[in-house]
Amino acid sequence: MKAKVHVTLKNGVLDPQGKAIEHALSTLGFNGVDEVRQGKYIELDLAETDPAKAKAAVEDMCKQLLANTVIENYSIELEG
């Protein structure tokens, strides 16, 4: 079973990299782009076949390591 984890900054946390990307896009002539937020994407292959157990395990991984929940949110997608 494959898990796809997205880690993103919480609302209200300033994202200097997102701001720099936004600025670069506007320099390139892409107008009307606002609120660019940069995050992380992590793929995991899991031996677990039960979706509920897999989800719970990945939740734990996110809380303990993959995300810093002081500033980051995470979302989990399971496949297969």
């Binding site: 946390v13 300033l14 200097p16 990299q17 720099a20 390591l65 993959l66 810093n68 002081v70 500033i71």
Partner: protein, 229 residues
């Protein structure tokens, strides 16, 4: 005083801080490899600067789960003094020993220069050698030093007199112009609730000898020796 320095793969200020400690206490500290699980009887543990695990995932995230950190957390809860410098500060926030997080610098640049700091509190074993509001010169060298915590946490830190250092200008003003990396409320270093854990981004161990350009880091190590010897 009995001191140890934790060494992670990628630490690069471990030997500098060992020199600073030896100068202050007259003997060398223990150097403890991150895979070790036991600590000797200690008064002070230093988590040094560097780039542990190449800053993978987030600065300090991997080191926070190193085997030795379980022992460091246990010692910290018993009141052993823990000093985290730069990457050490990042590791201490990732372990939960200190609140908040150190994000990418506001201007996205690695900053390596001498920086003026205002002493926020002299009421700790780390800062007793300075006076309240004293302006000191300590170098920084970091990419992720932008201190962030929610408003409630920042208010709590201030109410409990736990902000050890703030970035300031030569008049001691802690304004936006002096805020080198975008840290909330110019915070450069904080204490835990029991005041036995200090995390700071600047490097006091880099200014302990006139040959290095100054000695403003010396009082920190002397304070610790005075309190713990």
């Amino acid at each position: 005083m009995k001191a140890a320095v934790i060494v992670f793969p990628g630490s690069n200020c471990d030997r500098d801080v060992a020199v600073a400690l030896e100068q202050a206490m007259g003997k060398a500290p223990h150097m403890i490899w991150h895979r070790d699980t036991d600590l000797p009887d200690l008064d002070l543990i230093v988590v040094p600067g560097g780039f542990s695990y190449g800053d993978y995932l987030r600065s300090g995230a991997m080191a926070a789960h190193s085997p030795i950190m379980t022992a460091v957390k246990a010692q910290a809860s018993k009141g052993v003094r823990v000093l985290g410098i730069c990457n050490g500060f990042q590791i201490l926030t990732e372990t939960g020993l200190l609140p908040g997080v150190l994000m990418r610098n506001r201007d996205l640049k690695f900053i390596c220069k001498d920086t003026l700091l205002k002493v926020g509190t002299a009421a700790s074993d780390f800062t007793a050698g300075y006076s309240q509001d004293q302006i000191i010169n300590i170098p920084v060298a970091h990419h992720d030093g932008n201190y962030f915590a929610d408003t409630a946490t920042l208010d709590m830190l201030e109410d409990q007199d736990r902000v050890a250092f703030r970035y300031c200008d030569s008049d001691g003003a802690t304004n936006e112009a002096a805020n080198i990396n975008g840290s909330q409320r110019n915070i450069a270093g904080i204490l835990n609730e029991n005041r036995n854990v200090l995390g700071m981004m600047p490097h006091p161990e880099r200014l302990i000898d006139p040959l290095l350009g100054g000695t403003d880091g010396v009082p920190m190590f002397k304070s610790l020796v005075n309190a713990l010897a």
